[in-house]
Each structure stands twice: as C-alpha cells, then as structure tokens.
Amino acid sequence: MAILDETKARLLRGAVQDNIDVLQGVRSTDVLQGVRSARSIRRHRIVRPWMLWSLLLVAGMAYLTIPVQVTWRGGGQTANSASIAQDALVPLADESSAIETALRHPQPLDRGAIPLSIKRIVIDPGHGGEPGTTAQSGITEKEITLDIALRLRRLAQDSHLEVLLTRDGDRSFSLDKRVAFANENKADLFVSIHVNWMEPHTIRALETYYVGPTDDPATMKLASMENKESAYSLSDYKKILDKIYVDERRDESRTLAKAIQGQLYHSLKPANPLLENRGVRTAPFVVLIGTQMPAVLVEVSCLSNEDEVKLLTKQNYRENIALALLQGIRNYATTLNVSSRKGS
C-alpha cells in the first residue's frame, strides 16, 4: 500500500509539474521528456530571462532607430511612432518586476504602434499542370483558380496595387517554389486561391485558412491533399508547428483571413443563398508555413457540389469572387493603421 501511495504521489508531482510548465510556456515536447530532461528545463529557465532581456533591448533599440514612415498607397496616412516606443521603454528599464511580469505574460503588439503599408501582393492560383480537384462535368480546380487570379490582377491595377502571380498559365510549379517566389519578391501579402472538394456533396462551403495547427480530421485531410506536391509528411509538420505558435505573422494572417472571408461571404451570398460560411480556420498548408508575410489560403467554392459548379461556369460569378478577394484585401489594409487599443 505504501508503495502504491508513493507511486501515486510521484505521478501526481509529474502531472502538476507538467501543467505548471504548460502555464509557464515551456514547450510541450520539453515537458514530456519528464524526469530525464528536468535539469535541462531548469537550466532553460535560468537562461531564458537574460535571453529575453537581450531580445527586448535589441528590439527596443531597433525600434527607436528605424524611422517608421507610414504609407498605404491608397490612403496616404502617415505617422511617426518613435515616441510611443520611447514611452514604452522608460518604465520597463526602471521596474524589473514589471519586466518579469511582461515576459511571463507577453501582450500582443498594438498593431497601430507600427503602421504598415501594402504595396505588393502575391496571388497563388492553386495547382497547375496537375488539375487539383475535378468536377463531374470536367471543370478543373487549376482552371478556376487561374481564371480568378487573372481577374484579380486586372482589377487590382486600378487600386495601385502590384499583383504578382505564381503562375499565369497552366504549368506545374511546386509548393516550395511558390513560397520562394513570394519571399524573394518581398510580397506584403500572400493569397493562395483554391477550390474545395467536400463530402457529402451537398456541402457548398466557403472557408479561409491561415497557418496553424488543426485538430479537425477533415482539415488534416485537406492539408494532406493540398500539400501532396511537398516532400514533407504530416508528422513532420507537427514538429514544426510549435514554432508557428509564436510566429508574429499569425495574428496578421488571421486578420487578413477574416477580412477576406467576411467580404467573400457578403459578396457571394446574394447570388448563392445556400452558401455556407465556414469561417476562418487554421491548417498546416506548406504555402502558409513557408511564406514570410501574412498569408492565407482561400477555398472559394466546392467543385464537389454541382450547383456550385454551375455558378463557377458563369463569368459574372468568377468576377465577383475576384472582386470580393480584392475588396477583402483592401478592407484588411485599411485596418493596418488603426490602433487596437481603446482610446489611442
């Protein structure tokens, strides 16, 4: 009985420590190493405040020395945020306890503090060469996505927005090359256009993804399908997703996803009353993981649904999708220079 109680006590200590580590932000993989890595975790804790101190100082100095001129090509808003940074740094330098608290509970950066602009976007028409999904009537995903992307590029010319396409014809272009194309061109945003295939076929859904993990088997399946040109396996993604949790792009990608999803649904619903708004979701798509700018993948329709296919065959409907995507991007852009803090 004493042995049992002792074992229980040991297990409980482990369970409690595991929870405390999660609360304090130690990565779960470290936590699960259990007793053997306990020493390394303790060492990690000793080092971490100094590392974060250094990072904070470097970031603060960079923030003070870089003049942040703000332009949104369409709007022409300007601001200088150096004074905000200085105000923020003074109390932090004086109050170590406040710093420790802030480090333990990092607050999201007020996006209004560093207003940004959008000048160049990369649009990625999904698939090419290989067809992607194919409707019973023979219409392919690669045709629809390219058509919408070309329309979007034409429409964007009037918005003083530079649009680059990862492909402008029916050619194969691997996922890592699409990612490299966006990164090398220093795009401000990345929007990948796809058309879904869902079961049961009665579903006619609209959904927008940004990078992150998913617990939804259907989404995992979709990610697996869309990522099939990649050499990675889904188990590899799981390992790198921990890094994505702390990716500062994630919040911006979510905001972009919300703006696009909201506008698409609003614009398409009148012509497509049965359209289902599946909202904004996260998934480990390769093109969202590798890109260095806010990035989303939009499933604009479902080729598995015959009524959706009928709509997609109409030029007006595809034009509406392109217009809605552009308007969604514009909506996102207008939020960039708006502070999220009340009163600021």
Partner: protein, 343 residues
C-alpha cells in the same frame, strides 16, 4: 484526500463524441458533445432556451447552429464559437453534477480534465481558458493516464483509450509518462463512421442517410471478426423506409481501425524494458467508447500472439473510466498543488 466541505472535485473526460463527468458529490453524467444555438427568433421561441447542449441539441438540430466543438479530443482552432461551445459543455456537465457555479453558496471547484496524449500545448492552453469562470483550479492530464490512475494500473500496464476522435496509448511504468510512453492516433471511432458512410454509399447509392444515423447504427451493431447476426438497418430510399443489410460494411469499417491500433501497440511494447515486456503484454487495458466494439478485445489479444502472447481486457465502465480517473487525481492532489494550478 484534502477535500473540505466547500471544495468539490470533478474529473471530466471531454470527448469528441461524448463527454462525461464524475464528481465528488457522487454524481456521474455523460452527454453528447454537441452544442446548438437557435438560428433565429422563431427557433428560439420553439426551443425555449438560448443554448442547447447534448442530446437535446442533436434532437433539435434543424433549428440550431449546431457545433461539435471538439475534434480529436481537443478544441478546434479558429472559431470563437467553438470555444464558447466547449464552455457550454463544461458548464452543462458541472450543472448536471449539481455544482453551484454562482451565488453565495458557490463551491470551490477543482477540475481534472483529460486531453489526448499528444495534445498540442496551445490546445491545452485554450482548454484552460475555456475553464475560466467555471472552475477555480484546473489540471489537464492525458486521457489514458487518467484511466490508468483511476484503475491503479500504474506499473507494467498499457492503456488504450479509444474514443471517437483519437485512440490514445500510454505505457505505465510507475512514473509520470514521458513523450516516448504515449501515442495518439487519429484513427478511432470517427474513422469508422467515415468508412461506413463510404461503404454504405457505394453499395446502396440510392439510400438516404445522415452521419447521425451512421453513428447510431455503429453504436448498436459495431463488431469485428465473424458476425453473430446480420446487421439490418432501416433507411429511406426515395422517401420509402427500407431495410438494408450492412453486415459486411459494418465489419469492414470497424476492422479498419485494427491495423493502426495493433501496430502502435507493438511499437510501444518494444520501448518497454525487455524483462517487463511480458508483464505489460498481459496487462493491456482498453477504455473509451470505441472499446465497446464487439470482438475488439479478442482481436487485440490475438494480435499479441505474434509478439509472444498477451491479454487485452476492456475496463468495466469504459464511458466513465476517464472521468473517474480524473476524479481520483483531483482528490489525491494536495491543496498546495491545486493552488499552483488556480485559474
């Protein structure tokens, strides 16, 4: 152990399909993990509630924005509505257990919640957030660990908790399980549903059925191995109710989860110290709703023959094994431990 009159403990097993609670008050409840909000004023008038949970939500689904907020045993990401839905499920379970969450006589609540063995850290943090305002302190533990703790199978045992969204494995070696001791498979009850949908549709293209009907059939007639009886179900064909035979489809769908489960079991056994492998092989414990598939215990035991023989047994109460284990942990943890985990 240190429970006072004002402090109550609960163990909660949040499942993709069903969620259960075991409370120190003696109450135990299980509900379907569905939440629904009336879609409009008319629906709200008809259902007479702002939100419906469990079977009630499923029954009235045509009038509701229905959510099944847990996938693979953890909260879906990307939807605030799903987070709200998880909170509703937890509140509902706690209400069912007769625990007051408001007012002067509000109890101090310590909750242990089971999550899949390989749940992402962020999923666990989301779950903690969902518990705010519901419990005072929360401890998240892996589901099979909770089962093992409740059964006091703490040494030389291997627990397989097969739910709807995940099958969770955990080798118990007298210490808190490490990453190497645990494994989560997404091949579980929902995979059987998907297979069954596909197979029935292939054989009977004109039959109309929903995923809810499929789940009902599976819960009544799931099996692996040789069938004892034909599985006859009723479903409409062009509006007319017809009886169809889905025996082979049921068997194929249920057996589809066996290979990954047996392979994972074998892989985990190889990581056990060689001198203890035989003991662990003879102490394979099956829990979770999907462990109720008829013949599963024998099929897993048979798969152990190739490894030198062994024995798998299904726990007496698969539905509550996780929440009972959670309650045992909640009771045994000290007040000092709980203070560290307060919300």
């Amino acid at each position: 152990m240190e429970e006072s009159n004002e402090t109550l403990c609960v163990g909660i097993d949040l499942g993709t399909s069903r969620s259960s609670i075991s409370a120190s008050t003696g109450e135990r409840h299980v509900i379907d993990s569905y939440v629904g909000w009336p879609v409009d004023m008319v629906a709200r008038k008809l259902v007479k509630k702002p939100v419906l949970v469990g079977h009630e939500a499923l029954e009235n689904r045509s009038m509701l924005d229905l959510r099944r907020p847990l996938e693979r045993g953890v909260m879906k990401e990307g939807s605030e509505k799903d987070q709200e839905a998880v909170q509703e499920i937890i509140r509902h379970l706690i209400n069912l257990a007769g625990i007051k969450q408001k007012g002067k006589n509000k109890s101090k609540l310590r909750a242990v919640v089971g999550v899949p063995a390989e749940a992402f850290r962020v999923s666990r943090q989301n779950l903690r957030r969902a518990m705010e305002g519901v419990a005072d302190s929360v401890m998240l533990v892996s589901e099979p660990f909770a089962v093992a703790y409740g059964l006091e199978a703490l040494l030389h045992a291997l627990v397989i908790d097969i739910g709807a969204g995940t099958a969770d494995f955990c080798v118990m070696q007298g210490r808190y399980p490490t990453e190497e001791d645990q494994k989560t498979l997404t091949t579980a009850g929902d995979s059987v549903d998907e297979q069954l949908v596909k197979l029935v549709r292939e054989r009977y293209p004109d039959v109309q059925f929903s995923i809810h009907m499929i789940r009902e059939w599976k819960e009544k007639w799931s099996f692996v191995g040789e069938p004892k009886d034909r599985v006859l179900v009723t479903a409409p064909i062009k509006g007319k109710a017809m009886e169809i035979d889905v025996t082979q489809e049921m068997r194929t769908a249920c057996e589809s989860i066996l290979p990954p489960i047996c392979e994972t079991l074998a892989a985990l056994l190889t990581k056990v110290e060689p001198e203890f492998q035989s003991k662990v092989r003879n102490n394979i414990i099956l829990a979770g709703g999907s462990s109720l598939i008829a013949g599963l215990q024998d099929a897993v035991t048979k798969s152990l023959e190739e490894l030198g023989g062994g024995r798998a047994t299904v726990v007496k109460d698969p539905v509550f094994a996780g929440s009972d284990g959670g309650l045992a942990i909640a009771r045994d943890a000290s007040t000092a431990d709980w203070e560290k985990l307060s919300l």
